[in-house]
């Protein structure tokens, strides 16, 4: 009986040791500030996200000007007023620098995330349309695909930034997570399907500029010492 107990104890000890070793192996790579692993600071995260958004806005600019050449949109000489009803018009967004600086950080972060989420489906749909149209040049299709992918990645990036900000206590935990935001958005009524290509591009160009500016303002409010 003692021999069995001893063997059991040994087994338990080995199991615990093995689990401890496994834990060590499964431990996060960047634990305890090891030198090999570089933990991205909040400023770095912000910089990456801002660069990403700038690139995205650039592509939307290019696509919009390409489409404007092909589809002559009467801007000045049109009869009546064509009000561009972007599907994101219902979102309340700050319309200037002071407004963006005045609203709460959490609200600003939420606005950014909402905008990014609102464009995920329309851009994917747009890309598919472009890819199927044979009369358009291929590079438009590539750009549309890149734009669609960028919106997706940018949203993930901003979510990470929001998480980090919450972790560091810079913003309160009132920022909604992804799932709850999707619930908050108006149900996908497919308004964006009614938009024509150039209208869609115009609306996205405007919104991507908003996202870019909001992110920059947010960065300088959260981490002002890094190049503001």
């Amino acid at each position: 009986m003692p021999r069995n107990l001893t063997s059991v104890w040994l087994l338990l000890a080995s199991i615990s040791l093995g689990s401890r070793l496994a834990n060590v192996a499964a431990a996060p790579i960047c634990a305890n500030g090891q030198t090999r692993c570089r933990v991205l600071s909040l400023a770095n995260l912000f910089d990456r996200v801002i660069q990403h958004s700038a690139r995205m806005h650039g592509i939307s600019n290019e696509l919009h000007s390409e489409f404007q050449e092909q589809y002559v949109v009467p801007s000045r000489n049109h009869i009546g007023r064509v009000s561009r009803n972007c599907h994101t018009s219902t979102l309340l967004t700050p319309n200037g620098k002071e407004n963006a600086q005045r609203i709460a950080r959490e609200e600003l972060t939420e606005v950014i995330l909402k905008l990014l989420m609102a464009w995920r489906d329309p851009l994917w749909h747009f890309h598919r349309i472009i890819a199927h149209q044979h009369d358009l040049a291929n590079f438009s299709s590539d750009k549309a695909l890149e734009m669609s992918a960028m919106v997706h990645e940018l949203r993930k990036g901003v979510e990470k930034v929001a998480e980090k900000m919450q972790t560091l206590g810079m913003i309160s935990n009132s920022v909604s997570t992804l799932s709850s935001l999707e619930d908050l958005l108006p149900s996908d009524s497919g308004e964006w399907r009614l938009m024509k290509d150039h209208e869609l591009l115009y609306c996205f160009r405007r919104d991507s500029d908003k996202i870019q500016n909001y992110l920059k303002i947010l960065k300088c409010r959260i981490v002002p010492e890094h190049g503001c």
């Binding site: 000045r76 009000s83 200037g96 620098k97 405007r206 500016n213 503001c228």
Partner: protein, 491 residues
């Protein structure tokens, strides 16, 4: 039918049959003109035209319009705008800041990412007219001012010449809050001479560089001795580019290196000094050689001209020997030499048969009689006629008749091989070997000269000896050699 419209009144002149003559036509024209003159002063204004809007900083914007035809009455222009949100038509908040025929929207009235619908209404007492509507989104009309304070500086690095350009952001752009990001672009080219006259309007040969967000840039590989023209422009985010700054000129100096001329001058100076030293050395080479390589002291027998001896001729030698000079008393010389020593001067004929040698007693001065006796004794010894030196010396060997024998000349040509030093003094009857004697002879010639110098009087005396034994003398003389034996001092 002639129809004109003046001041909204239509004149139509209908030629009514043949009755219409030129006078009627002229009258109508005059009436029209008068009416026109009156009408120009009063009419509703013409339609203004909205030219466009511009935002230099994405926070404010300005719009300009062009008035229509003036109606002759004081006309006022008003700008009205509408936005998506909030609803309602509003009037321009500021007509003055941006100048005439312009409207300035400051921060409170500017909304980005919002469509503005603008119209201008011109009105006077007679009426008003409205321009076309202009839709504007501030995002689309951003165009910053040009960068400021462009400074150029030519720099000299180790291997290359470079041009450093620096500038400032436009004054009215806020770069602190992160609201906008400025991106710069610069262009540069070498100034061509002919373009300067034309004002430099060429678009080609401009090289454009993207400077990103930095406010400085360095151009490498600029050529010295040229003039460079540089211009900078910027844009906000992805807005339109600003206008180029005024051209800045910089003159790239030719020799910007300060060290190089210094070293070149040092090198040139040292080269010049070296050449000067070389010239001096060449010119004074004799004295230089003399100081560096002290000359071999030649034979210096006072009273003997060494040059004549060197010439090798017998008569020269004689005259060299018989130079009338004062010379130091023999005492000084004799101190170094024992009184009883004799000197053998011998030469060896290369033909092999005869050998001549001369014995000179060094003690003649004090023992003149003895010396003569010695010489007399020497007379009787037989002559030597073999190669090896069994040197029979005769008393007559005390002098040498130089004049008569060619072989002597030959022998005396050996004088040229004279080296300094050693007076070979033989102290025994045994005649040394010919080689030695040969050497001695040559050596002895040095001292022989000394001796002979001393003995010049003696020689004279000897020469004047009566030919008591003419035959012997003649033999001796004819033989062309001097036989000498060394005899121990008598007494």
């Amino acid at each position: 039918m002639l129809t004109t419209e003046v001041c909204d009144v239509t004149f139509s002149v209908v030629p009514a049959g043949d009755g219409m003559k030129s006078d009627t036509c002229a009258a109508t024209i005059v009436t029209m003109l008068l009416s026109a003159a009156r009408c120009n002063s009063r009419s509703p204004p013409g339609r203004p035209v909205l030219l466009g809007c511009r935002s230099p900083d994405k926070e404010t914007f300005t719009c300009w319009w062009e008035p229509g035809i003036d109606g002759g009455l004081p006309t006022t222009h008003r700008l009205y705008y509408q936005r998506e949100r909030p609803e309602g038509t509003q009037e321009c908040p500021d007509y003055r800041t941006a100048g005439s025929n312009a409207c300035f929207f400051d921060r409170n009235y500017t909304s980005i990412w919002v469509d503005y619908y603008l119209t201008v209404v011109a009105s006077n007492a007679l009426g008003n007219s409205t321009s076309d509507e202009l839709k504007v989104d501030v995002m689309d009309i951003v165009k910053p001012d040009a960068p400021e304070h462009v400074t150029l500086k030519a720099e000299d690095r180790e291997e290359s010449l470079s041009l450093h350009v620096s500038w400032d952001h436009p004054r009215n752009v806020d770069t602190k809050s992160g609201w906008v990001t400025l991106e710069y672009q610069l262009r540069a080219r070498q100034q061509q001479q002919q373009q300067r006259r034309r004002g430099g309007g060429h678009t080609n040969n401009w090289k454009e560089y993207k400077a990103g967000r930095q406010t400085q840039f360095t151009l490498y590989g600029v050529h010295p001795g040229t003039v460079f023209v540089v211009q900078v422009r910027c844009r906000l985010d992805y807005s339109a580019w600003s206008s180029w700054t005024d051209a800045s000129y910089v003159n790239i100096p030719n020799s910007i290196r300060k060290e190089k001329p210094f070293w070149m001058s040092i090198l040139a100076l040292s080269g010049f000094l070296f050449l000067a030293a070389l010239c001096i050395v060449v010119m004074k080479r004799k004295s230089v050689i003399q100081s560096l390589l002290p000359p071999v002291p030649g034979p210096k027998i006072r009273g003997v001209d060494f040059q004549l001896v060197k010439s090798g001729r017998a008569q020269d030698l004689a005259s060299a020997l018989i130079i009338q000079q004062d010379f130091a008393p023999a005492m000084a010389w004799n101190d170094y030499i024992d009184d009883d020593d004799y000197l053998i001067v011998s030469d060896h004929n290369t033909a092999g048969t005869q050998q001549r040698s001369l014995v000179i007693s060094t003690s003649f001065s004090s023992k003149d009689n003895g010396a003569e006796q010695n010489f007399k004794d020497l007379k009787t010894t037989p002559t030597v006629n073999q190669e090896d030196c069994s040197c029979n010396l005769s008393i007559h060997s005390s002098y040498v008749d130089f004049e008569a024998h060619v072989e002597l000349e030959l022998d005396y040509s050996r004088v040229k091989d004279v080296t300094s030093d050693n007076i070979f003094l033989l102290e025994s009857v045994d005649v040394p070997r010919p080689e030695k004697l040969r050497e001695d002879y040559s050596k002895v010639v040095d001292s022989e000269m000394l001796l002979l110098q001393e003995k010049s009087n003696q020689l004279d005396c000897l020469k004047k000896l009566p030919p008591s034994n003419p035959q012997t003398d003649a033999d001796l003389i004819d033989g062309g050699y001097v036989d000498a034996i060394l005899t121990p001092p008598l007494g």
